[in-house]
């Protein structure tokens, strides 16, 4: 079967966002993959440099639709630290609540899309139906289903009234029961196991070598979680633990994400119950002193990093956003070689790509995953080498 070049995307039903795969497949086996993702590059960093802090937040929130609160919290947290400004505890609790609710709706969304990738539409419908409960809570608290606009340099813009708090608390038990249902459904649903187990396997060393982050890394036993490593907001004094798995394939990532779903629910419940009284924002100084900081935040997809540099004016001199999906693309390319054509959407969906975050890179995958065009037969030799190694191992 001669090599067939299959262009998938940028307009493709499997990918909710524009990414272009040029897959060179030998029959059903993938030999080579070129990934071009920069369709959603809009030049946000240049625009952020021209805007004051107040106006930069709405822009930075719209880097990505699903993890919008992550971006605005990472930015606000970084600028506040540069200004040596501590925000009131109530504001920190509210930010954590919204952040964890966003993680819940993002993981439920992912679980549905992953099931849709393998054609299992029932789970797609069920998970998104439960996600609506989380969306209602978010809409009550912040007024918008997606871009919440809760953050501001110096605190939070809207307070949580007691009625909102116990309305949210009433929805949690039903969600909890649904999550336990999904846990056992993923474990013994025959076709899901067939399509998820053993696909896109990453060992612990490969994860560290390719720099994978978030649930993708935690599924192979690497326990990097910024909320535990570099605790910010109230994660230090709320009881929760990092969810890891050892199987390292798409099945492991599914279990990690559902585990994190349950953890987030626990965090939200304890935050809602111990919401301290007090003001919700502090008036920030007009300008930020000269300095730079690496503000790290655990977004639903992994470790989000904002490198913020200020130069004493009321604007930011430089914002360098490195999104979690950008770090995951190398590991995707590495574990896609020698897989089946039918597995591309499942493996790509496994890292839960948020392309509007990434909008960065094209990588040409080779056998061992570092970038660069390589001659055709050298690639063949590498993949055969890799097969022999796998047989040997």
């Amino acid at each position: 079967m001669p090599e067939v070049i299959v262009p998938i995307g940028p307009q493709h039903p499997a990918l909710k966002e524009p990414v272009n795969f040029r897959v060179i497949a030998d029959g059903e086996k993938i030999v080579r993959l070129e990934l071009d993702i920069s369709y959603t590059h809009r030049g946000i960093e240049k625009a952020a440099e021209q805007r004051t802090f107040i106006r930069a937040l709405p822009l930075l929130e719209r880097v990505c639709g699903i993890c919008s609160h992550s971006h605005s919290t990472a930015f606000a947290k970084g600028v506040e630290e540069l200004m040596q400004l501590t925000i009131p505890p109530r504001a920190q609790y509210i930010r954590t609540i919204i952040g964890e609710l966003e993680r819940m709706h993002s993981h439920l969304l992912w679980l549905g899309v992953a099931a849709h990738e393998i054609g299992f539409n029932t789970l797609f419908m069920w998970t998104w139906r439960d996600r609506e409960a989380v969306q209602d809570t978010l809409e009550e608290m912040s007024g918008n289903r997606v871009h919440y606009g809760m953050n501001e340099v110096g605190g939070v813009r809207r307070d949580l009234t007691p009625s909102q708090v116990n309305a949210a608390l009433q929805r949690l038990p039903n969600l909890e029961e649904r999550i336990t249902k999904y846990v056992d459904m993923v474990q013994n649903q025959e076709t899901m196991l067939l399509r998820f187990r053993g696909i896109g396997k990453l060992t612990k060393e490969e994860v560290l070598k390719y720099g994978a982050v978030g649930p993708t890394a935690r599924a192979s036993g690497v326990d990097y979680d910024i909320r535990m490593d570099d605790p910010y907001l109230v994660y230090a004094d709320v009881p929760w633990n990092v969810v890891t798995d050892t199987s390292g394939d798409v099945y492991g990532r599914t279990r990690v994400r559902i585990g994190e779903l349950a953890e987030s629910l626990k965090i939200v419940r304890s935050c809602l119950e111990h919401l301290p009284e007090g003001p919700i924002r502090v008036n920030p100084p007009k300008t930020a002193p000269k300095g730079e900081i690496l503000s790290r935040y655990e977004a639903p997809r992994g470790e989000l990093v904002h490198f913020i540099r200020t130069n004493g004016t009321d604007r930011v001199e430089r914002v360098d956003i490195r999104t979690p999906t950008l770090a995951n693309w190398t590991s995707v390319a590495a574990c896609l070689v020698n897989q089946n054509l039918a597995d591309i959407p499942v493996i790509v969906a496994a890292i839960d790509p948020c392309l509007s975050c990434t909008s960065r890179i094209t990588i040409v995958d080779k056998g061992d995953g570092n970038t660069g065009i390589v001659t055709w037969d050298e690639l063949r030799r590498r993949s055969r080498l890799r097969d022999r190694r796998q047989e040997g191992a």
Partner: protein
């Protein structure tokens, strides 16, 4: 029932084409409604398949560059014609007047035609997605066709005739084949699910990998006819399995006026085909899609061997009965 005007009415009007088209659209409505209700949704209204069909007819027909139009136009019509004629040999009211020895083989052949035509459409439309979709259609066909045929021919073996109507009448005074040959019944259901390319086996039309498989380049009336052909083949398949395994439209005790017997037979036929559809739809909702190589291993390892076991059992039972 042999004089020609009645036969013409039989072919074109009642259990023939007009009824078949209406029943096919009802089937698609029921299928989508059952799937929606199981997914906690409301599902489309009754006239939805008809509205889709008419809208697709009204759309502009786009020919991909470099495709030869006549074949691309003729293929859906052939597929639809093949499957509709197959329905004529399946007893609907009672024994079908057109029955002859060997109409079971003819029906199986006509049912296989749309899959091949889908491959031809995929290959013709010069689009990488449809080409790969077409190849997958044919590879899937090789996998499920053998067990499907075996499962459907074992009732003929036991009943000793090759005509569907006679198998149905044989079942009247014996047990149903679903009871006599349970393995054959299950294998036939799996085969039909694969032939109709429904979810556990809708690999060629995998919406998430290849855009729409062989269906990608179909627009306008071609899409309408091909969509109708797949609906009609769903009806024909369900009716075939209902006839062969669930005893078809006959009642054990005879009712005095003949036309009352026909009406009861007709309702029995409706009930049994709807039962088969219910089974297929619930399987479609409850499973995800499996990969083509997994289907290959499952298909040949389990389904084909199950069919062979069934044939062996039937041969043994035949020899005992013939011997005793």
């Amino acid at each position: 029932m042999t004089d020609t005007p009645l036969i013409i009415v039989y072919i074109f009007l009642f259990p023939g084409f007009l009824f078949l088209l209406a029943y096919a659209m009802l089937f698609e409505f029921l299928d989508r409604r059952i799937a929606a209700r199981m997914q906690h949704r409301v599902g489309p209204p009754l006239f939805q398949p008809f509205a889709d069909f008419v809208k697709m007819l009204g759309k502009e027909v786009i020919d991909p560059q470099g495709v030869d139009r006549p074949v691309f136009d003729a293929a859906p019509v052939i597929a639809l014609a093949a499957v509709m004629t197959a329905f004529l040999y399946i007893p609907v009211v009672s024994a079908s007047p057109l029955a002859f020895q060997g109409d079971l083989v003819l029906v199986l052949y006509l049912m296989a035609l749309p899959t091949i035509i889908l491959f031809v459409m995929g290959w013709l439309s010069r689009n990488i997605y449809s080409a790969i979709g077409g190849i997958r259609t044919v590879t899937q066909m090789f996998i499920y066709e053998v067990p499907f045929f075996l499962a459907l021919l074992t009732p003929a073996l036991m009943a000793g005739t090759w005509s569907i109507s006679e198998i149905v009448s044989w079942q009247q005074d014996h047990l149903w084949f679903m009871v006599l040959q349970p393995i054959g019944f299950v294998v036939a259901l799996i085969g039909l699910q694969a032939k109709l390319e429904r979810t556990p086996f809708d690999i060629p039309e995998a919406e998430t990998e290849l855009v729409a498989g062989p269906w990608t380049e179909l627009t306008g009336r071609r899409l309408a006819l091909m969509h109708l052909a797949s609906d009609v083949s769903c009806v024909t398949g369900c009716a075939l399995i209902a006839a062969l395994f669930l005893g078809g439209p006959t009642i054990p005790w005879t009712i005095a006026p003949v036309w009352l017997g026909w009406i009861c037979g007709f309702f029995l036929f409706l009930a049994k085909t709807l039962v088969v559809l219910l089974i297929l739809s619930s399987v479609k909702v409850a499973t995800g899609r499996i990969r083509i190589d997994q289907l290959n291993t499952i298909g040949w390892k389990y389904i084909a061997s199950a069919a062979l076991v069934q044939v062996a059992v039937v041969l043994v039972m035949n020899s005992i009965r013939v011997g005793a």
